[in-house]
Amino acid sequence: MLAFLIITAVKLAIIAGVFMTTLAYLQWVERKVIAHVQVRMGPSRVGPHGLLQPLADVIKLITKEGVLPPHVNKFFYLLAPFLAVFMALISISIIPFGTSITIPAFTIGSTVFGPYQTMMELADLNIGVLFILAISSLGVYGIALAGWSSNNKYALLGGLRSSAQMISYELPMSLAIAAPLLSAGTLSLRGISDSQAGYYLGFIPHWAIFQMPFPQIFSFILFMIAAFAETNRIPFDLPEAENELVAGFHVEYSSMTFASFFMAEYANMVTVCSVATLLFLGGWHPLFPASLGSNFVAPLILFIAGAVCIYHGLNPARPLDRITLPVFGVMFFALAGLMAIPQLVPILTPLFWFLAKVGFLLFVFIWIRATLPRFRYDQLMSFAWKFMFPAALINLLITGFLVAWFS
């Protein structure tokens, strides 16, 4: 019991710390990626390559004065950002990141502890998918209340748009999630991921998007489109459309309350990408089997990244690069070495594949933000009800029929 509590506390600390840092640095990644898509530099002043920019932003946002406008409904005005962050952060607790970790037995003094085995997640719910859906359906309250309690017409319009949009897109999202569940036969996220282990013909992965009898690629596309709407990202960021609504639902917020809405948005992005990875992209199961060398992908990629860094450090574009890039290169080499240690391979390789897939999906989110314009509001609604919903329904019908036929 005590060991369980200690292990859970340690996992909690690690996950919370890594998650918060990720959220802060996602902002940096987003600004850098969009800048490079638009042929700009992006943040580059604070620290090497602007790497300390998130820290500076956090300090700025904390130390700024939090203005409480006189015309707001105080209780709900202060409750709304809290709700938004709470609902966004709680989902990460049931996301599994990889396989299990075994801590070998050790002795302190004369007492023998262990061996302990623990799963790489905080909780494995047997209704994990439903939990994610429930939390995401509650997430709308933060935005709707923020819009309403601000007592501002732009904010109210943003809040209204957001609640209408999230109700509309929740339907196709739930239907798109239901299709892979039919072939997985479980609602636990770990179980779903494990049902996608294995390979057809020895090299085609058993991921849901390739899975027989009916590949779930359509569900995946529908889910991702609905996910963009659920997280209020471009091209569906109507609740905060700058050129129509000033800033939408958070127009009256300042300082940390303002930042908390952004934190919630990024946390929702990470959650949605993790769920997409677990449901459709096989979780931590690699793209090709270990017999074809999938265990060597992680060290190889990190080694190449390190080599590129060192090369550019030797031919620097800016004087500072002569120092910073080799340091990054050495860090990448160290990570590559860590990935290649045989004892750590069963733990780190699944983690690497999971993070790589989530990272790729996050990159797609940012990429689309840099590429696509915003929908018009009536287009958004008719797209949800006239295309997404029937398409998801037909997809579910075909999947259900084929699963029943072949089982």
């Binding site: 709900f76 719910l125 047997n126 209704i127 439903l130 939990f131 859906l133 429930a134 359906s137 509650l138 709308v140 309250y141 709707a144 209340l145 819009g147 309403w148 109210l156 809040g159 209204l160 609640s163 209408a164 999230m166 109700i167 929740e170 609602l187």
Partner: protein, 166 residues
């Protein structure tokens, strides 16, 4: 442990339910109602009906109450003005409610005399699989009738909306 959680969430749900009635503003009432739904979901969870618990949150707290709040925001309903209540309500309201609860308790004790206390964690089979199996075997007719009812509601909504469009 379970008793502690039961007491906590029973207390929360009762307080929230009273708050629904006491609050002057519709948004505050609606949010209190969400509190009631949430604590009911926790009780389902404690009883071992995890699927029902999540369905409770998704359907009631997540969909229906969002629509409520949406409508309240759309109509921009202000705080309700309290009209003068008649003396019958002022004098007899609370005693009558207590009497009604007493009668309800009496009859439920009469009809189910041998029912003991609810034991937490005794009930197995509240998962999605068991609920789905029960819905499509024992309760197939009520399930289908409910879906027809919902279809009628949808058709009614479309008819009403079309009249306005013409």
């Amino acid at each position: 442990m379970e008793l502690f959680f039961f007491s906590l969430f029973a207390l929360i749900s009762v307080v929230c339910a009273i708050n629904v009635v006491l609050q002057k503003h519709p948004i505050s009432s609606a949010l209190s109602l969400i509190g009631v739904m949430g604590s009911l979901a926790v009780m389902y969870l404690a009883l071992g009906a995890e699927f029902i618990a999540m369905a409770q949150i998704i359907v009631y707290a997540g969909a229906i109450m969002v629509l409520f709040i949406f409508v309240i925001m759309l109509l921009n309903a202000g705080a309700e003005s309290s009209r003068g209540r008649s003396w019958i309500v002022q004098v007899l309201g609370f005693p009558l409610m207590v009497a009604l609860l007493g009668v309800l308790c009496y009859f439920s004790m009469q009809w189910f005399p041998d029912s003991g206390f609810v034991k937490f964690g005794d009930f197995q089979g509240g998962g999605a699989q068991q609920v789905g199996y029960a819905l499509f075997t024992d309760y197939l007719l009520p399930f289908e009738v409910t879906s027809v009812l919902i279809l009628i509601a949808i058709i009614g909504a479309i008819v009403l909306a079309r009249k306005e469009m013409d």
